[in-house]
């Protein structure tokens, strides 16, 4: 049987970030996959050696639009680890609130995209409508929907005013009924069960061997979460649960993310209720020579920053590692053996954020029959329609 290579990307119209997958297929089954990423390499590690510690937190924020809290959080923890020093309690709670708000809006974004890949465009629009409420909350509290500019080595830059909290709580409580309806609609739907269960399985041994992180590994039964293993911020003072499921297929990844949204809402409400008073900033003036490591559980996994200082006011080396960097190689284990129509949903299941991974490359393509990105999504939506017809659902 002739093999052909199908390219997806680099300008994949549905996933907003550029990437290039070349899938080698044998008829309908995928036999090999190669990922070339790196269209977004901006040289941020070298750039942050030119800015002072305080200024480079703004560059770090703009590594990724969706995980705009994770990178500065890990960076400021790394710089504080050089000294080492603990920030005031109020700063810890404020940081936790912003981090959990970002987790909710990132999971809702992914939820909408997954609905679109499967052909449920209504879910896509409803979930993104919900997400607007969360972005309004971010604007009320920090001043902007996206790049919050609130992290600083030594604390936070701005304070939260207690007058804003009633409106914030009203908006957060307002999304819970719709979220409940969507959760039940997704988890009970037999079409989705047929479509997503048993697809793209990542076994527990492979998750450990590839060092996968975040919901990708928690869906495979590997209970890893930086917030529980190495607590920081306000996570050790609030009661919340880590969601772990066993099967490792795409359905479990959906379940983990949806349930994590509920946990985040619980954490935000507890933080607002228990917010202590006091200082918000330590006013650190000098960073002594040394090394520091900071980690934070982003919506996609663990973000890891390593900072080395040589006594001046600029970092000597800053290493950024986003969670998608460790999750992307798992494609070799999950996609091979599946059909083309499932390829898009499996590739989207690890919630890739390529801006965080900072890579770039260009590749050649061989083969006669080529599907583009649009075609693959259309194939995925057609498969859902076929399953619906088989089950007798209109």
């Amino acid at each position: 049987m002739a093999r052909s290579v199908i390219p997806i990307g680099p300008w994949h119209p549905l996933q907003e970030e550029p990437e290039f997958f070349s899938l080698t297929v044998d008829g309908e089954t995928v036999v090999d996959i190669d990922v070339s990423i790196g269209y977004n390499h901006r040289g941020i590690e070298k750039l942050s050696e030119r800015k002072s510690f305080d200024q480079s937190s703004f560059v770090i924020e703009r590594i990724c639009g969706i995980c705009s809290t994770s990178h500065p959080f890990a960076y400021t923890r790394a710089v504080e680890d050089i000294i080492p020093v603990e920030v005031p309690d109020r700063a810890k709670y404020i940081r936790t609130i912003v981090a959990e708000l970002e987790r909710i809006h990132s999971h809702l974004l992914w939820f909408g995209l997954a609905g679109h890949f499967l052909g449920y465009n209504t879910v896509y629009h409803w979930v993104w409508k919900l997400r607007e409420e969360i972005l309004d909350v971010c604007e009320i509290l920090t001043g902007n929907r996206n790049n919050y500019a609130i992290f600083k080595p030594g604390g936070v830059r701005r304070d939260f005013k207690p007058d804003d909290f009633p409106l914030v709580l009203k908006k957060i409580d307002g999304i819970i009924p719709t979220l409940n309806r969507l959760k039940k609609a997704v988890l009970d739907d037999p079409v989705l069960h047929a479509r997503l269960k048993g697809i793209g399985i990542l076994t527990k041994e492979e998750a450990i061997d590839y060092c996968a992180l975040g919901p990708t590994s928690r869906a495979s039964g590997v209970a890893r979460d930086v917030r529980k293993d190495a607590p920081y911020g306000a996570y050790d003072r609030i009661d919340w649960d880590m969601i772990v499921t066993e099967n490792g297929d795409v359905f479990d990844k959906v379940v983990v993310r949806v349930l994590e949204v509920y946990e985040s809402i619980k954490i935000i409400k507890a933080c607002i209720r228990d917010l202590p008073g006091g200082e918000i900033d330590l006013n650190i003036k000098d960073i002594p020579p040394g090394e520091g490591i900071g980690a934070h559980e982003a919506p996609r996994g663990e973000t890891f920053h390593y900072v080395r200082s040589d006594g001046t006011n600029r970092p000597a080396r800053h290493k950024v590692r986003a969670p998608t960097f460790m999750n992307l190689p798992t494609y070799k284990a999950t996609v091979i053996g599946e059909t083309i129509s499932d390829a898009t949903i499996i590739l989207a299941a690890i919630d890739p954020c390529y801006c965080c991974t900072e890579r770039m490359a260009v590749r050649d393509v061989k083969g006669k029959k080529m599907y583009g990105g649009q075609d693959l999504v259309r194939l995925s939506q057609e498969k859902t329609a076929k399953i619906k017809r088989e089950m007798g659902i209109p």
Binding site: R224, A230, I293, Y306, R317, R321, A361
Partner: protein
């Protein structure tokens, strides 16, 4: 499940002639320096026997030598062990850990093209980040890479 002190004592005893320095910085951070020849032994032991998770490896261009730090997380005791190796700056080379666990594959490709460190025995050494047209032998993350300062454009008044 060993405690933190047992882990450190075990490392010191087992790799007595390979460890150059062990810096116990704080309850959660330990920095161990070893000789470059022993990296596969130490890496395999920490990953498989201590059941650590491999985080990432940071390559650093200290001006007199090259360094690589391999960060491993032991989640059950909340400890992060960073294994440091110092390499010669003219021709840095070290054995690859990609055959031991697959998580090290991509990061070694990245360090190879950005800093110029060779990894012996890596199964698939290709370009990861840089374009195919990028010239060979030019390593952007090294401290003596200055071309981007020369070509930078500022188009502003004052």
């Amino acid at each position: 499940m060993m405690t933190r002190e047992e882990v450190l004592k075990d490392l010191k005893v087992r790799f007595k002639e390979d460890i150059v320095d062990l810096f116990d910085k704080s309850p959660k951070r330990v920095y161990v320096e070893i000789r470059p020849e022993a990296i596969v032994k130490v890496g395999t032991y920490i990953f498989k026997d201590l059941q650590a998770r491999f985080n990432v490896a940071s390559g650093v261009d200290a001006r007199t030598h090259m360094e690589i730090l391999y960060h491993f997380s032991l989640e059950y005791i909340n400890l992060l062990i960073s294994v440091r190796v110092k390499l010669d700056r003219k021709a840095p080379a070290i054995d690859s850990l990609a055959t031991v666990f697959k998580g090290a594959n991509w990061i070694e490709r990245e360090m190879n093209e950005l800093l110029g460190i060779k990894f012996r025995g890596h199964p698939d050494m290709r370009r990861l980040l840089l374009a195919d047209e990028w010239p060979e032998g030019v390593y952007p993350l090294r401290a003596d890479y200055r071309e981007w300062d020369v070509n930078a454009v500022r188009d502003r008044g004052v």
